[in-house]
Amino acid sequence: MDLDLTPAEEAFRAEARAWLRAHVPSAPLPSLETEEGFAAHRAWEAELAADRWSVVNWPARYGGRDAGLIRWLVFEEEYYAAGGPGRVGQNGISLLAPTLFDHGTEEQRARVLPSMATGEVVWAQAWSEPEAGSDLASLRSRATRADGGWRLSGQKTWSSRAAFADRAFGLFRSDPDTPRPHQGLTYLMFDLRAPGVTVRPIGRLDGKPAFAELFLDEVFVPDEDVIGEPGQGWRVAMSTAGNERGLTLRSPGRFLAAADRLHRLWRDRGRPAWAQDRVADALAGARAYQLFAYAAASRLLDGESIGPKSSLNKVFWSEYDIALHETALDLLSEEGEAADSAWAEGYVFALAGPVYAGTNEIQRDIVAERLLGLPKGRR
């Protein structure tokens, strides 16, 4: 058991640090959840991708560096320590890409991944529906057979970044007559600007259009955009949902950097005693999350999968993130809640953590039933 990086990994760290120091914008970009901010973040993705820093753990042929998980963790530490901007391509990179690696065809990977890596195509996740939240399998949007493909109809909602994104991926009911709701679903990719698609932005708590609803009216999708086998959509989607909650959605680097900023804020404010425990817990929590991730990465490298353990992660980081931001806002008082405060933006973002990627209630059920072996009960 060790925490040592190899000389090659240390060299990778140094290379990443040097590049980031030279390139990370000195002033923060405008909010990702605005049109102007979205464009600025997309340009930043292109800059990252130009020197192959946007998806370091991907194979080189799709724009990555074949860097592996440990180097990815190292890169993320450097990225957030350098104050790197939020990643606009996150949904595609952490959800669709792993799905394509596991279930896509070579043609799909070659077509989809390079433009995802450069930010040229930003992807939105179209899973949730008005009547299908936690009970996702009850979704009703349909995919019906058409010549050379499928026609999609129905309504999706809460689709992050869809207001300004280019394409989306999601589950559709292709066979309405199956005995169980998880059957007869097909996983498809579609164009957000295709005829028949209407995107209505929805303002989140602070009014910024961070997500959107999608109305689909007989939207044509060619066969080449089906992921996995038609009818097997649930299995395909669930096999990679762990990525969203597990390692890659929230890297430890992000919380290490945030805890460090909080610690500095506390010192700058004269080390108030009332906040001492909370700041210390934020520091300890970031370290715990980092070491938990190292252990998870070590297990993955041994060939194990994360499986339901990703639910431990999800509850931990989402609650951690809120506690950290609450402490910062308490330290800053009114100043922290000013609309242009980075801490306020972070706080609003953090507040949604226990809801998306599977609510924390659902994650606790998974921990209790699948990790502790408690009996399944009535929900």
Partner: protein
Amino acid sequence: MRFLLDTEQRAFANSLDAMLTAADTPSVVREWSRGEHTRGRALWARIAEAGVFALAVPEAYEGLGPRPVELAVAFMELGRHAVPGPLVETVTAAALLGDPGPAKRFLPALASGESMATVAHEGAYALDGDVTAVRLALAVDGLRLAPGHGPVRGFLDPARRLTRLLPGGELLTPDPPVDRALLWARLATAAQALGVGLALLERTVAYVGQRVQFGVPIGSFQAVKHRLADAKIALEFARPLVLGAAVTMAPVDVAAAKVSACEAAYATARTALQLHGAIGYTAEYDLSLWLTKARALRTAWGTPHDCRTEVLRGP
């Protein structure tokens, strides 16, 4: 980097677990709490034979150490089985007796399990002063071999039998490595607390799977499940802190491990008590042995406040 226990370390944990399960530690604890030390001493000898104390003792003094990772692994098992006695104190004493003279004189016997040690500030409470051959007092002028102890005082955790160390005695060294010893004390306590928390969780999961109310196991109720899920999450995020601290032995990591493991264990104790209902509130039911220990370890060798202060001091 490979931040996972290797096969040998896992096998070590499993063998300790098997040995301690066979030893029926709850009945050993109960005897120990009454001041009957015979079976406790026998168990101590077997723990020492497994090499646990030797892990804190350098090879030069007939030990196997220093090997903090293996020590942490062992202390998790000692906590899981609620083993009584001055376990942490013996490890701490080994770390304090660094000078060649005292090291040569005391360490081989600590490593082999022949003697137990306790440590405290002069005039303060020390654990199990009545059974330990080596009573170390941290005095203003250095480390002293205390000449004796006062009366034994019982505590909330019945396995913790505290006595005041008498002042005076032989001066062993004027400049003991107190900071280093504190790291070992905190690491061992953190690992032990994590083990206590894991035992509380295991026992409670088993209980709620069996206990039927309203016609179903209470473990099928979501309110019950979610409390246990939270306990699991807290413990599973304390675990890497404990092991990571053992790898680095950095004061900030050790302090973070101590506060997180103790808080997680204590929160688990509250959950365990609640979910057992009234039976959990009784002394005769074995759960009480872990419940009270979770409380005691929280303050031993650095309160949550002390440890958080250390965390804020930074590297």
